[in-house]
Amino acid sequence: MSVTQGDVSRQLVDTSVWSDQDLANHGIPVYDMPFVSVGGGIGSFAMVDTLRIAGITTDQIRVISDLERPSQTYEYLASNSQIRSGHRLRSDSSSTVDCIWGWPGYALREAWGKKTPGVAVQVLLEPVAADYYTPKAGQVYESLNREAARIRWNQMVVPGIVRHVRRRDRGDYFVLSTPPAGSAATKRIAFRSRFIHMAVGYPGVRFLDDLQAYRKEHNDFQRVVNAYEPHDHVYAEMRRRPCTVLVRGAGIVASRVLQRLIDDRDQHGAQTTIVHLFRNYPAGPQGDKATFRRPAAKGWAYQGFNFPKAAWGGQIRDHLESLEGDARRDFIDAIGGTNTAPRKHWREQLDRGEAQGFYLQGRGEVQSVIPIPDTRQIRTVVGGTTGLPTTEYDADFIIDATGLEANIEDHRVVMDLLRHVGAGKNVKGRLDVERDFRVRNADNGEGRIFASGSMTLGGYYAGVDSFLGLQYAALRIHDNLVDAGFGQRIGPGRSTSQWWKWARNTGI
């Protein structure tokens, strides 16, 4: 059978287990590399940072990435959702993505570096007598870049996109990568590796079905937008003329978008009217038990971060680790779901908007989204399925701020893992991993596959899609790798000496 040299054939793609000879027959160069991380974003960064601190050298690690820097995708999504470098993220002071030890936290560093002792006081008083301190995005990116340079990140990055991870017939795996056109002699290259780490994040932005249908049917991508895609033209137009905007969603992104809209009224004289549509509307605290009750008011469920704090390392983490099946899924839904941060500034803006009539709330299931003939407006018909009357809202723009939900099967490489390696789905339909983030049913001889980040939500740890969650996963994976003979366990001595190097920004 003839094959294009340096490329895969249909037959190879359809074969679940590959041999060295298969790749030789296809003329695909194979590089031996003990550890390969697929993704190249913050998940890969947290993993590699931990391994480097554990003493793994750069020549034993490769990161296959199509990003220029680890924070690139994060920065893009944050920026679109109106969190620019000078704005604050929803992240804890001690969730220091550049520092696995979490100390000093971002608050202390900001207080010291910017000579602003107020933020140190804030972190002392939070959340009792002050809002949670959260770091500015720019500070996080800067610190991450510094750490990337310290661990020599760029020496480990191989530009490319991974489509296939396959078992090798004699143990371990092949990772097949497509390098950028012209950068390699062949169309594909392969790594032969014992340990694979998958951290591919979200496959993309997902729209509410009715808005997606509207956009396609009416070819209107300007007036119906997603908060995670570039949509600054919406704010620009609302500053030029009085508009009505309909915002959907009640999470942190919706909060930030509403702030932007009201800031534009306050600071630039915009005359925007905001209609805020809720599908679920918690009017009061959520939960039957006094010991399990989330604060909620006026449609918003409040907690500091996307899960209760103890989900990252306390009672809630312990409890979740003990749950299986539907009980685990239900518990994750109960502590997560749609929620936002209880920031005083946001509450003040919305209360003022309500009092002055420029912020209106609606609730219910959307029945249809249709253009209004002879106008530039869009009508959203909200049905009375919850006993409420049918209501129509006309708006110049619709912003979908319902978040990033994505089917892992939209990821070709994850789909490949499911179909050919034997990995399965968990109770929330994401990739099934053990408590230490080892992908279930994917071992091959001595080889192991691990996964971290959003694609593992539904497993035994809730906060997977967060800086601290990525670092936690990295540490658990590191401990597993130590058992497999890869690297030295970061015990008290190594931890302390490595922290000192980190503090002095000494390269490793």
């Binding site: 704090k309 401990d479 970061i490 008290p492």
Partner: protein
Amino acid sequence: MTPTLAGRMQSRLALLGTVGVVWTALIGLAVPRPEGAETSAIYKALFTALLIVAVAGIVWELVYHALQQYRWEKDWPTLFGLIVAVPEGTMVWILLKNQIPWDAGPVQASTFLTMFITLWLLIWAITNGPLQIVALRWRYRGGRFLGGWG
């Protein structure tokens, strides 16, 4: 912090047993003392106070853990870690004065307060960050050094 009950107990005992002992030994040299008071008498009083903080603290941790259940985040804010020094310190003082668990000798308030406040602040500061340098997994384990991992 987001301690578990076991984490609370372990952290308290581990820190009092290390930092607490060293600090009490050092501060014993510097605390205000009544004229003519023997160094050994001062140390007897201070180490008795330290022991009470450790042992009675086990009961306090049960109370804090119960209160924590009424917090949605199941966390224990940094500020709480400071404020609880007031009831705890008061109780230690009352027990000392009432010769519980034994007669620790005449101890003046300034001696006790100097030791108690400095020790509390020191341990509070260490557990709010620097401890993680030595014990990397401690924060994920809800304050435990043993158990809760793997």
